[in-house]
Symmetry: C2
Subunit: 490 residues, 2 copies
């Protein structure tokens, strides 16, 4: 259904990448291995961990369920020979670790197209607005709403400063914040309807979840994590393009980073090898995947928690860890990218970024390549809207998306030259996205279990990161952290 | 660690039961079978479904992961030769289907010991109180708290009447109720601290979850479901002993019901056969368990949703169903039963039922056998308290529990003749209990997926029941419903 690019196709399309299905190991080519560390998952977290462990002289194998590397980072091949991003794609200031990784691999960045006006679509009316005003890119809502929104935003940033990112559950008011939904808090604080609207859109854009699904403590943690040790996280850094988490993209598409990283690991990466069991045996671990069995001193599981729950562990995981994995569901997200001969909205003075109160797409970006040799309009299908379309055909989703794009950018948007769709909820080895979310009561009771090793099993993945949890940067940080953790006990 | 009774031991202990490990099938004895319906899980739901399908002339196999039947209903063998309940044990008015099942199997009920005073332990003070006053068994708190509690209880019952039990998400105010936690609602309504205390204790007693973990809509549904078509559910029916869900127990222990039911199915029940994959193949299904493969026209999965998620499905489940299973975690519960030569608290005028604001046990029952030939004091370890003890040794748990029992009933409680513990969070094939819970946003977005068949795969288990969800009665109802559902399409 969705035209997700297989590794080979992606590698061919990007030219520079050297890893192909032939170069990478395959399960059938290697029925058993004996290594220092078995790594489950060849997303950015698992691959980064492998890099650091190999650099320290350790032997590793990375077992990947899919027939490609990158996890939630994937390139979609286009009919015109180009490539666009079906998953994580943006990076921004303070995302130092993904930037350093990309630099080391020679993957270059370019600035996300951000020239011209944003577009607010609200109550059936289109209002262009500048992105560089005193208020940043706050949409043109009524004055009372703007004032209310400014206060709420300041309050969120202020409360987020009270969150220790390595242990949000130890915040002085953690219990208070973890017993209510973000929706409950917003209703008490974003009292002007237009202000509430802005935070609702911000929430679905950031989390692909509705405010009612999230613990207020989890939201504050996520804001606090949008920074680094020197720069406390802010809501603005999460939502903005310039100076924010959407500032830069990767030349050649974001999957180039895991593809090139995997290429440095050679046949240590085994594709199409979903792990079924992790069993301790005589002080070591036997990791059994389809087609390959690995015997290892330590294991790194670099999967989102609800997917890690689907592996059978022997001995059983402690209750705290198992119940955590029952309580961090994947949010709901899809990406729809319409390809046009040109990015025609630019000529109309638009930067391609929409904020909308209706339709299946309430947030868009100009996803064209750096040379603008064709136009790409990318929209997120998020939360309730994603769920409504989960069972729809690709044609139905396409029709609904193009209806929205036409509403926002006119008739030209109705006839793209091609259209690609990435439906993460329907992907076997993700089953949602972009990230796990926490309802009230989870972080305060189960938070520590997200990173705490269980015997020789260590946990990675963006969900375990203290900074930029939910982002590519968090994934890389988690890989670096888990490698240090494992090296300390190897 | 925990002394959960294996099937053979239980059967021997109860005498009347005929199913033993020898009589039941074992995986090694039957490597493959071809049947009309493969049923996953030999709890009350799966066994009831099997009964009805067999009665309709269909061939079935019931695959059970454990080495015993009963799921969350289990008998624990005692050193004195007796048996006590480690899981579900009580039934009460309107629980018609479990009662009918027990009657049909000749399993008799007796009245839960309820003579004498309840005991309130609050602020370090013990206050006995009668169970038969105008206020039922409402503990003796301050008048303002009592008045507040009465209003809140009436309001909960009133709102619950607006919930259609077969589709709570269609209630007129479903969205409003599903965007807040029960905690948020209680804080706005149970404004007197002593009233809030009562509802907190009621919440942990009913759900083994804290009010912050639960959607208010889910709580209202659970109340609405505590009845039958002729008798709307009420909070009181959930919490009370006399005329409530704790009114009756089974002579010989509750596991006698699934044991006797399984005996009628003979070697159709296969123990120690955890199901790993369910794959569609040419219009049929191949269900692969450890040691046995079943080829079937239809499949019934009678597991709690988070456990059903750990099976690999081919083709993939729809996103709505998969994401539902990520969002219905098991609550956290243990049961601790101390055995004494006599139920000595009876002589002191107590019925053995405590409501406490502290300790690891905040709710107890007299679990002695009908002839009171020995005394059994049973306490629930729930929610936050259960989680605190998940990693503790059995000796540590025992010490903490006996400290509480001694506080409540005096020094005699400090020296039981034996002590048994059932820690559901640590059980491989339950990983929590007594039931799945729903945080805000789950029922309104995912509710229908709890029962909606996926191709030839049908869902059962107490979580799928419209009445008495979370109870043995709901499990039986779900088995009867799923059998009708499957028969309609076979």
């Amino acid at each position: 259904m969705s035209r997700r690019s297989l590794l080979g196709g992606t590698a061919a399309a990007v030219g520079a990448a050297t890893l192909t299905a032939t170069a990478a190991g395959t399960a059938s080519a290697a029925a058993s291995r004996d290594v220092d560390v078995a790594i489950v998952g060849a997303g950015l977290a698992g691959l980064t961990a492998a890099r650091d462990l190999v650099a320290a002289g350790k032997s590793v194998v990375v077992l990947e369920a899919r027939d490609r590397v990158g996890g939630r980072v994937v390139g979609l091949s286009l009919a015109n020979g180009g490539i666009t991003e079906g998953g994580g794609e943006f990076i921004g200031p303070t995302q130092d670790r993904i930037k350093a990784l990309a630099d080391s691999l020679g993957v270059q960045t370019f600035t996300t197209y951000n020239t011209g006006n944003n577009l607010l679509y609200k109550d059936g009316k289109k209002t262009p607005y500048a992105t560089d005003g005193i208020l940043g890119s706050v949409p043109p809502i009524d004055a009372a709403g703007l004032a209310n929104a400014a206060i709420v935003q300041a309050k969120l940033d202020d409360l987020a400063k009270q969150i220790p990112v390595d242990a949000p559950w130890t915040a002085a008011k953690a219990d208070e914040w973890d017993r209510q939904t973000f929706e409950t808090w917003l209703r008490a604080n974003a009292v002007i309807p237009s202000a509430k609207f802005l935070f609702d859109v911000a929430c679905t854009s950031i989390f692909s979840a509705e405010p009612r699904e999230l613990s207020f403590l989890f939201v504050l943690f996520y804001i606090a994590a949008a920074g680094n040790a020197a720069n406390p996280g802010t809501l603005e850094r999460l939502t903005e393009t310039a100076n924010g988490a959407q500032e830069l993209r990767f030349v050649g598409g974001s999957q180039l980073v895991p593809i090139k990283l995997a290429a440095t690991l050679g046949d240590r990466v085994v594709l199409s090898a979903p792990v079924r069991t992790i069993a301790r045996s005589g002080g070591r671990y036997v990791v059994t995947a389809d087609g390959i069995t690995v015997n290892a001193r330590k294991v790194v599981v670099a999967l989102a928690p609800p997917l890690a729950a689907r592996i059978t562990y022997d001995p059983l995981l402690p209750a705290a860890r198992d119940q955590l994995t029952q309580r961090l569901p994947m949010a709901s997200v899809g990406k729809a990218i319409a390809i046009y001969d040109t990015p025609f909205w630019r000529a109309d003075g638009f930067n391609g970024q929409v904020v909308s109160d209706s339709g299946v797409i309430s947030s868009t970006f100009d996803n064209s390549p750096p040379d603008a040799s064709y136009g790409a309009l990318m929209g997120f299908i998020e939360a309730d809207e994603a769920r409504k379309l989960d069972a729809a055909s690709e044609a139905e989703v396409r029709a609904a998306v193009l209806k929205d794009y036409t509403t926002y950018f006119g008739e030209k948007a109705a006839s793209p030259s091609s259209f690609v769709l990435q439906r993460w909820n329907n992907e076997a080895y993700t089953r949602g996205g972009p990230v796990s979310i926490a309802a009230p009561g989870v972080l305060t009771q189960y938070g520590p279990a997200v990173r705490e090793p269980v015997g020789g099993i260590h946990w990675a993945g963006t969900e375990t990161s203290t900074y930029w949890m939910g982002f590519m940067d968090g994934a890389v940080r988690s890989g670096e952290r888990v490698a240090r953790e494992v090296l300390a006990v190897l």
